[in-house]
Symmetry: C2
Subunit: 559 residues, 2 copies
């Protein structure tokens, strides 16, 4: 009997990195290790010892050294916990938030590690939810529209401020010396793979979805970049790698020095970098069209694959082979979901309610969920717009803000919490309907992520609001599983892995028995409430009343 083979997936999330050691035969998750990033999300002050550098509104940075720390700490720990022989680990894959990008020098060293730049916010990793490049995104969209750039329709009509070029442009404009000192702008996910293997292999996913690139037409034209800013004319040639690699390809083997440090063999096949949402699609056993995958955590990412290329307003992108080889991969998303609930718990749940939760031996989340579960649709009398972090799909507008309406002197935390859940479900429903209206069919939903496992009320609300059945990933760490699956594919069958992702899906991905089915009487009420949501969505989101932007304008004058 041959010895068992393992693959390691590392999921680099917003706040922490998580390694999972997976049995290649059956996808069983043998050991897990999590490390919180020592510097977390940097959104108030740079983490400097002697200086106090304040960040502006909407900034969100990270420290690239935190990512390597995750590698060094979590890999040895999963091997030790699993108690296996390191040479039986055949593959390693990673996935990441995106677009999370950084400027590096010729040796691949982040500029934020350099003495001369470390007190400069623009030298640090710009996290996906860094929204301070919105003015650049606005100008970019304006120019692209005026020039009739065809790429716009692949991205739902708008380029998001979260993506690569608005972030690069912000650096150029605010810190031209940093732009000049930058050898390459890299996705953090590609940067980590480069650190592990010694070679830069830019992955198709982030390049396609976040850097306005497609197989057919490559990057936007020089003339376009010149129209944005003459200094950007040669940004692609000068600052980006143009060799693009497919998902599941092998990037290389582990560098000797890293292999030693993490207690692995340097024969391990390292897969081309990937994105947290996209690796989740195979990990929830989806390999066909009409099945929308929702990665539900701090935000929600919605993905579906299809044989044809359709143009869906407000989708974040459609990229050939961008999610699964052989299909057009569609992505859409909501920029805050779990983040809204967390905001509410931190900034809005009163002390008596926390005490009640404690008296009931429950954490605040569970107690809120319990209270919310006792209410029917619309019983709270409240309706919210889920734009606490702007709107990604379908409006693509980071300057929109959250709203709650129906407040009353008797409004209680359980009611507000339920209204917030409902608002995020309405946001998902808006996305699903926009896909359907654009010719991309959706029959059922597949869910994974941190919000899915515990929150039965939330999941039922999503089924009722969308009027679609929802299946749930068996794994509680689907991105890491998906990354490990890609590691197994990079290793290939001759090394005990798989030759393509479909084989890996068949063997390694699993669903739970529990499914959520829409309850007809709830569906009926939610149809009414959704109409009201949609009306407010259009009123505040499509420019009829742009009060949210006016308020933001006034607020920004204080900065």
């Amino acid at each position: 009997m041959l010895s068992k083979k393992y693959s390691i997936g590392i999921d680099f999330g917003t706040k922490s990195g998580r390694a999972v050691l997976v049995d290649v035969d059956n996808g069983k998750e043998v050991a897990t290790s999590v490390l919180e990033y020592p510097n977390g999300v940097i959104d108030e002050y740079l983490p400097l010892e002697k200086e106090r550098i304040k960040l502006g509104t909407d900034w969100a940075l990270q420290d690239p050294n935190d990512y390597l720390e995750v590698v060094y700490v979590t890999i040895p720990e999963v091997i030790q916990k699993a108690n296996i022989s390191p040479e039986n680990v055949i593959g390693l894959g990673i996935d990441f938030t995106a677009c999370t990008m950084l400027p590096v020098d010729q040796r691949g060293e982040p500029l934020s590690n350099k003495k001369s730049f470390k007190n400069r916010p623009n030298a640090w990793v710009k996290l996906w939810k860094h929204h301070a490049a919105q003015p650049y995104a606005n100008k970019l969209n304006e120019v692209a529209e005026k020039r009739g750039e065809k790429f716009l329709k692949r991205y739902g009509g708008k380029i998001s401020s979260e993506w690569l070029f608005p972030k690069i442009w912000q650096i150029l404009d605010e810190a031209p010396d940093i732009y000049k000192a930058t050898d390459r702008f890299m996705e953090a996910t590609d940067w980590v793979i480069m650190k592990l293997t010694g070679v830069e292999k830019r992955n198709i996913s982030t390049t396609g979805y976040k850097a306005i690139w497609s197989k057919d037409s490559g990057y936007p034209d020089k003339k376009f970049f010149k129209a944005l800013d003459p200094k950007l004319e040669n940004v692609v040639e000068e600052k980006l790698s143009t060799d693009i690699y497919e998902l599941g390809e092998k990037a290389g083997n582990l560098k000797e020095v890293i292999a030693k440090k993490v207690n692995l063999s340097s024969d391990v096949a390292v897969a081309v970098a990937n994105v947290d949402s996209f690796v989740s699609v195979p990990a929830v056993k989806v390999s066909k069209p009409s099945k929308m995958v929702m990665v539900m955590g701090t935000s929600i990412c919605h993905m579906v694959i299809d044989e044809k290329e359709k143009f869906v307003p407000g989708m974040t992108g459609v990229i050939k082979d961008g999610i699964l080889p052989g299909y057009y991969g569609y992505e859409a998303g909501q920029s805050a979901v779990g983040d809204i609930f967390e905001w509410y718990i931190n900034e809005g749940v009163p002390s008596y309610f926390k005490k009640e939760a404690k008296d009931n031996n429950m954490n605040v989340y569970d107690y809120l969920e319990k209270k919310a579960s006792k209410l029917g649709p619309g019983e709270s009398g409240l309706l919210a717009l889920d734009w606490w972090n702007g709107n990604r799909s379908v409006l693509v507008d980071a300057d929109l803000t959250g709203m709650i309406l129906g407040l009353h002197l008797n409004s209680k935390p359980g009611e507000i919490y339920r209204a917030l859940i409902e608002a995020t479900a309405f946001g998902t429903n808006k996305i699903i309907r926009t896909f359907e209206e654009s010719g991309v069919n959706i029959d059922e939903l597949y869910a994974c992520g941190g919000l899915v496992q515990k929150n039965e009320t939330l999941m039922q609300i999503y089924a009722d609001v969308t009027n679609k059945p929802i299946k749930i990933a068996a794994s509680q760490q689907t991105p890491a599983l998906g990354a490990a699956m890609h590691g197994a594919v990079a290793a290939g069958s001759k090394n005990g892995g798989y030759d393509d992702i479909h084989e890996a899906i068949y063997n390694m991905a699993h669903l739970k028995d529990k499914k959520y089915h829409p309850i007809p009487k709830n569906v009926k009420i939610y149809k009414k409430l959704y109409r009201e949501y949609e009306r407010l969505h259009d009123y505040f989101g499509l420019g009829e009343n742009d009060v949210m932007k006016k308020l933001k304008n006034i607020k920004q004058k204080y900065e």
Copy 2:
């Protein structure tokens, strides 16, 4: 030298009653006593020992016995505290929330005290903020409009659900046996005076402002009442007293049995009943037109007097001699102000913030105020509609609800609190502008009430939003002072009091030295923000988007 003379004013508020013993010479408040109503505001269950009778949404009741308890406890206490001889007390006045009404039998006994009715919500005192009669108010307004009833314009175009006839109609419709058993429907303020003196003397203020009565045309016509419901045709003759008495008139002397019980002489002159807001006008030293008085507490009442009768949309009423003899008295109001802040502190301030307040040796209110004071106008990025308890003026619609907009993952309690203050100030500004547009001039504001004394940031925001200077009452208990002033007028000069309210104002009312002046740079920003407030006010309040009502409809189906 003659011995000093005193008058006692009792202010019956929403949660407690407060007696103040006042020096008639100079208005000095010598002693105060407060009693919380034992049964408080009854809005969940009737206060019964053996039964659990749940109230519907928007119900708000009180126990009439609590009012007498206030008389019995607080009068002896102020006399004792002041250490004066009881025979030097020459007058007694009271003021009350309104319309706070109750059904009584032939002996003046509240039906809620009767065994056969006490488990019936409709037998209890309906507090001013009982809003469950809204459907009756809606029907009443519809009928009145269809019939072209002229009285509507005296009340800004709409009769409020808080007023007498909607409340009576609710009783008739929901509990015809209680209606039948009722000898008279009384304002609680008149009922207390009747209990003190033994005679019913209906006061001009509540009759004019809350019972659709005027000196010129009396009550509405029988035909109108018949059009509402044939059983209401004779409601005035059968269920109401039609003898109306002026403010400051003497209702009678204290009944012997009461005098003994409270340790006063039965020679004390008892003034005709009054209303908490109206007695505040003389107590803040206002005796002329163009000066708007704001009583700022759980709600705000806005009053101004004028020589002419104008019709102001959404005002709660214009009544000749209804506030000060010789003038048309105008009233308008916001149905929740302090109540919104209290809701926020109870239901929305997170525990870490309360802990911070404690660590700073501050109560939560003061700490919120401190945080809010560090922000400039618009710096929160938030905008709210102050309709947590519906909108009294200028929309007269209890079915509207609160809204907050601009919420962000970084929104903090100090910002939300400031936005709530600003929303209430915008609400006041809307009222002021409506008066001005209707020909009632307003040059300066005079403020009194619980919100005025401590909250400097709040007061400055009101000055900046309205762009008017604000003067502040010296007294912290203006309604009780105003009630005592009316007591002194009821006693008359021959007994050591005054012959009219103007003499009492001259001698007994005082202002603080501190005034609030608008700060031009804040005024400028608030003008912009107010435009946004007004646009949302009209959008949600005037029917363009009636989502608030639709939500309330759906919510009510669960009751």
